[in-house]
Amino acid sequence: MRHIIAVLLENEAGALSRVAGLFSARGYNIESLTVAPTDDPTLSRMTLVTNGNEEIVEQIKKQLNKLIDTVKVFDLTEGPHIEREMMMIKVRAAGENREELKRLTDIFRAKIIDVTDTSYVVELTGASKKLDAFIDAVPAGLIVEVVRSGPTGIARGDKGLTL
């Protein structure tokens, strides 16, 4: 099963490589990993997406907790949560494709953020599946480049993952 795990880490040099190293050393899957400082500059928040059966995911969470720099680990998939990923996709937009891509952008409630005579850059935010769907919907051969941030997430409700 796919799990989205949020980790609060001390904002120390090398903290990211400890997490990345843990996954490679123990052979855990890692689909994506994003990290940035939080409102508290001494803390980073990492969101990682991983796959595995319950035992493996349980071990992943324990091993993450065991890292000395880890302050908190929270499995967003355990409760109601919101997942968002951002994508910028550069597409060939010339001739008849130009109108089709504009329509597609509107349907997905995406935004065109750069325009040339022959291309668009489209920005789209949503759950990863929505981004996948947009990519699938772009007619074959028109994609020039895809940039995805990897998912981030937050739990629903009034409780926060803070100290």
């Binding site: 880490l9 001390e10 040099a13 090398g14 490589s17 400890r18 190293g21 050393a25 035992e55 349980e58 071990q59 324990k62 091993q63 907790n65 065991k66 000395i68 720099d69 880890t70 302050v71 100290l163």
Partner: protein, 580 residues
């Protein structure tokens, strides 16, 4: 003297921090990046520096010191090759959860990343084999970082911590006021002390209903200083007790309630009891593959209780029914309290039928060997060592057959007496580890049991032993083979002994003598006891005993990798007997 508030350089801060931590010995080897620290060491006499002959030995010696005393081992190495040489020793300590602080020099901060002379990414290289590591880039962080390093190494599940210090951070010309924090608080690291009382209650309920219980104990009991609580629990419950390689001595091995080591080379009775048990109480043990054999066949009938300080050890390899996370000593104390409240007053062994079964297995005599051989059997050598030292010995070991024979045939009655690399299996560990032990206990009998292959991996340390007059006794079981490799080749590769023969061995007697030590060679069983007595009588000399043993002897019982606990090879001399 209280140095708080006094202006000190980075190098002086390091040394003062060691003094404030109560460090007796630093095992190390100088080099460019640590010269400022060595100069600061030179100017004081509180922390004693032991000059090893290879950085691997610095880490092993610090490790041996830590295992024997329960205190934190400390080693000091230079940048680049100094640090990479120490990695094997750090990884050894990591696998066995040994508290150690390794201070490494680093090239000056302005040239980090430029492939400078003797530069290596020490923090990167050691990351997977340390509990934690630090690169200190500012002298103002040095004291606090060192305090954190000792705190992390010693608390929770212990382990090695590397502190990498660039040369400019130890600059003798830059002085700042020294402040060494007594207490350290880390929001990201809060080791667990007490176990959950509800879980302990569930465990006790299971134990009270058990028909075929087994206490399975590991190195965590030794590390957690819980031998006394374990002994009381065993006595009170009357349950049979088996131990991993790392836990030997936490419960007296000469006691009849001890049914031997378990696992790949464990006793028949211990492994059969594991196979048949209905309630397994695992205490400070980690279900290592050398213990479990094939997981699918592991304790097929058992409800499992697991006490461990490290939550990530729980249900890592084997799913457990009652996990209890906490310090072993504290959990066992709570467990004892509950047991005393709830258990009916019993006399003798409350699980009599179970013991009858175990005694039946015991009668198989799985450690049987030929006591009338005209060659010295390695088992006989260990038994003789036990008799000569009267069981009062710190015994370090290298890795291989001799290690297993020692574990099987030298019954330790106290914790911290059996010192070996169980997790990583590091050949070369024994001699430098013995140096750490002997320095910690100058009056004690310390021996290193080894093989002719292992000993050559850190043989240079005989020079260190000479310099510091360490009266260690090396007991070399010399069979001319990498015995354990040869054994596997005999069993699983149709006796194709690929590169397991140790050709061109030195004359160990002359070799020891050339380092200024005493060398002795024994070839006949009848001469062994006298030779050992003579060796141990030389209380102020390092003695190297080269004992020529039967090269064909194998370690039995043996569970082949990937087999179940009940599928043991027994000694060939027993194979004609029908087994349960």
């Amino acid at each position: 003297m209280d140095m708080n508030g006094v202006d000190l350089s980075g190098a002086e801060i390091v040394v003062q921090a060691l003094i404030d931590e109560g460090v007796e010995y630093v095992f190390g080897y100088p080099g460019g990046a640590v010269l400022h620290m060595y100069d600061a060491l030179f100017k004081q006499d509180q922390v004693k520096h032991i000059l090893v002959r290879h950085e691997q030995a610095a880490a092993h010696a610090a490790d041996g010191y830590a295992r024997a005393t329960g205190r934190c081992g400390v080693c000091l190495v230079t940048s680049g090759p100094g640090a990479t040489n120490a990695v094997t020793g750090i990884a050894t300590a990591y696998m066995d959860s040994i508290p150690m602080v390794c201070i490494s020099g680093q090239v000056p901060t302005p040239v980090i990343g430029s492939d400078a002379f003797q530069e290596v990414d020490t923090v990167g290289i050691t990351r997977p084999c340390v509990k934690h590591n630090f690169l200190v880039k500012d002298v103002r962080d040095l004291a606090t970082t060192l305090r954190k390093a000792f705190y992390i190494a010693m608390t929770g599940r212990p382990g090695p911590v590397v502190v990498d210090i660039p040369k400019d951070v130890t600059d003798p010309n830059i002085k700042i006021p020294y402040h060494y924090p007594r207490e350290i608080q880390m929001r990201s690291y809060q080791p667990i002390e007490r176990g959950h009382l509800g879980q302990i209650k569930r465990a006790v309920e299971l134990m009270l209903q058990a028909k075929r219980p087994v206490l399975y104990t590991g190195g965590g009991v030794v590390l957690g200083e819980a031998a006394a609580q374990l002994t009381e629990l065993a006595r009170l419950t009357g349950f049979p007790l088996t131990s991993t390689l790392m836990g030997l001595g936490a419960y007296p091995m000469t006691d009849p309630q001890f049914i031997g080591m378990l696992g790949m080379h464990g006793t028949y009775e211990a492994n059969m009891a594991m196979h048949e048990t209905d309630v397994l109480i695992a205490i400070g043990a980690r279900f290592d593959d050398r213990v479990t054999g094939k997981i699918e066949h592991f304790c097929p009938h058992a409800k499992i209780v697991h006490v461990d300080v490290d939550p990530s050890s729980i249900s890592k390899n084997v799913r457990v029914d009652v996990p209890i996370v906490g310090q072993v000593a504290s959990v066992l104390t709570d467990m004892l309290g509950l047991w005393k409240e709830q258990a009916p007053t019993t006399t003798g062994r409350p699980v009599a039928d179970w013991w009858a079964k175990i005694e039946e297995w015991r009668r198989v005599d799985c450690l049987h060997y030929d006591r009338h051989s005209d060659k010295i059997k390695p088992q006989f050598a260990v038994e003789t060592l036990y008799q000569v030292t009267k069981g009062d010995l710190y015994l370090t070991s290298d890795v291989g057959q001799h290690q297993m024979f020692a574990a099987q045939f030298y019954p330790f009655d106290k914790p911290r007496r059996w010192i070996n690399s169980g997790g990583l299996g590091t050949m070369g560990f024994g001699l430098p580890a013995a140096m750490g032990v002997q320095l910690a206990f100058p009056q004690a009998q310390v021996a290193c049991i080894s093989g002719e292959a292992s000993i050559l991996m850190c043989i240079q340390e005989m020079a260190t032993c000479q310099q510091y007059k360490l009266p260690i006794k090396v007991v070399l079981l010399n069979n001319g083979y990498m015995g354990m490799v040869r054994q596997w080749q005999e069993f699983f590769y149709e006796s194709r002994y690929s590169n397991s023969y140790v050709d061109a061995l030195p004359d160990f007697v002359k070799l020891a003598e050339s380092f200024g030590h005493v060398g002795m060679r024994v070839e006949r069983p009848a001469d062994l006891a006298a030779a050992m007595q003579e060796a141990f009588a030389m209380k102020d000399r390092f003695v190297f005993l080269d004992v020529v043993v039967d090269p064909t002897e194998n370690v039995y019982p043996m569970i082949a990798a990937g087999k179940g606990q009940h599928e043991m090879h027994l000694p060939p001399s027993l194979s004609d007997r029908e087994l349960a």
